[in-house]
Symmetry: C2
Amino acid sequence: MMTSSPRETILQLFRETTTGFVSGVRISEVLGVSRTAVWKQITSLRELGYQIEAVPSRGYRLVGSPDVLLAEEIRSGLDTRIIGEDIRFLTVTDSTNLQASALADAGAAEGLVVVADRQTAGKGRLGRSWVSPAAVNLYLSVVLRPAVLPVEAPQLTFLSAVAVCRAITEVSGLQPTVKWPNDILLNGRKTAGLLNEMSSETDRVNYVVLGIGVNLNMTAEQFPTLLRYPATSLAIELGRQVSRVEFTRSLLKQIDTLYDEYLRSGPRPVLAAWEEHCDLTGKSIVVDCQSRLIKGIMAGLDDDGALLVKTPSGTFEKVLTGDVRPVEQGM
Amino acid sequence: MMTSSPRETILQLFRETTTGFVSGVRISEVLGVSRTAVWKQITSLRELGYQIEAVPSRGYRLVGSPDVLLAEEIRSGLDTRIIGEDIRFLTVTDSTNLQASALADAGAAEGLVVVADRQTAGKGRLGRSWVSPAAVNLYLSVVLRPAVLPVEAPQLTFLSAVAVCRAITEVSGLQPTVKWPNDILLNGRKTAGLLNEMSSETDRVNYVVLGIGVNLNMTAEQFPTLLRYPATSLAIELGRQVSRVEFTRSLLKQIDTLYDEYLRSGPRPVLAAWEEHCDLTGKSIVVDCQSRLIKGIMAGLDDDGALLVKTPSGTFEKVLTGDVRPVEQGM
């Protein structure tokens, strides 16, 4: 269900005006509220970073927009079929995955997007945390309800990964690589992470939440000194900032396109696209599975998204969880 | 965390008394409440079906207990390690699985039990409903947090099934059989159903809810006329009622024992016990997988709980979802 907030309506009026100005009377009529209430909405937009001039007898004029992930900004010009009809923007939240899961439990439709400016408890894989400062990055979750078996749902992690890679290239021209199971790298350094969560019965998926965190405009100084892996952001690699709104719109469009293909053609096109983004395919790797190390050639993904490793004896090992690294020179 | 309600404390005082009587003054002191508040608690116990006499100058005497699934009744004499330290009894709820999932989302510890006298939206497999009238049956959910991979979690459906079978035999002497994936039958008619639900990441289980519905004292007249399968209850098969509290205590004890074994020894003992309860093992079956029919010999369960069917060509088919029926004479 499409929600249209007063803020969204005002921004829409600014977009539609031909004179540049929208009068307070007009806004008051369209919203059906008092002039005082209009003034309060203008103030709240200014607090979000919108530069709005008030010119006596002509009205309000929008002279500058911030890069804020408001639903109304993301949706403006967003051309998708399933993803993002309903977008919830939160200035601050514990974790967009937690919020999206709660909304899905309450019956939210497929395609719901939750996006936050800042997370206080951003989640990474296996209970790790995800550094989530305000105003610089993207923290986003999407609710899907695919008619697949629970064992097939991990395929969707690779769908998220390919969507993030394509959005990065579209917005920045950079060429990211992927690392099994859920990392996206630029020049070998972690730029985005994925955390898909699922609610399921034994033979039915209730819903999947695609959780996506992308370091967009974070500076080197904003990273904690102790990280498990070297990390970077699009801005660090590019030497300039990127538009968060533009990136988000691109990402949602990519997810929409890939998900449509996934539903029509099954997982193979998505898995093949992921394998193309993986620079270790065909290379010697070591997989650390906690209880044991597996060495071999990375052969790609099986249909459920498990990692296939060809061992020296010629057999294939199917890996469901673990950390992958290339075999270093001399190992 | 153990919760002790005023009701539970009063029932405990009745159990501990040697004279048969507990004075209002004593209850008032132990609970730290007024005599009026004590009287209200006694009234609430009477409304639940407890027969309590009040004898002037001697106090209260418990002369009869109802078969109500109060946490305090179930816990009395319950000797478990993990399951049932925290039991929540609800007179009526939508679905114990929904309530248990919500509590697990909020951080409930492993072993939490939610039990209801009646469900308004009892859930069966694949979105089917589970008939859940008041006062006669058992509707119960258990929260587990096993350190297994999501693909392994379906094993726990078979753990529930074996626990229900053992509790039925312990309480009634009847010998139930199981039907893949989640039914328990008496004389070929459905007596209990299981609906396990899971919250997971790609390579980690957040929690599993074991959902268990058992027809205990339901009469033939209480079944809807249109059911997918012929159904029965313990009382119909036995010709007498069974104690719901006793059955529940037995079930929780069986789950506790099996889960402990599962964590120590892996799934094989549980899967083998299930195969022993399955009267179709080694027989000719047809599996209706919606898109196709598979015919062959039921060979048992693979380690993840999938059904293994040996086809006429000698190969094994692994079935993740479907409905099983025996091949009838002459097919």
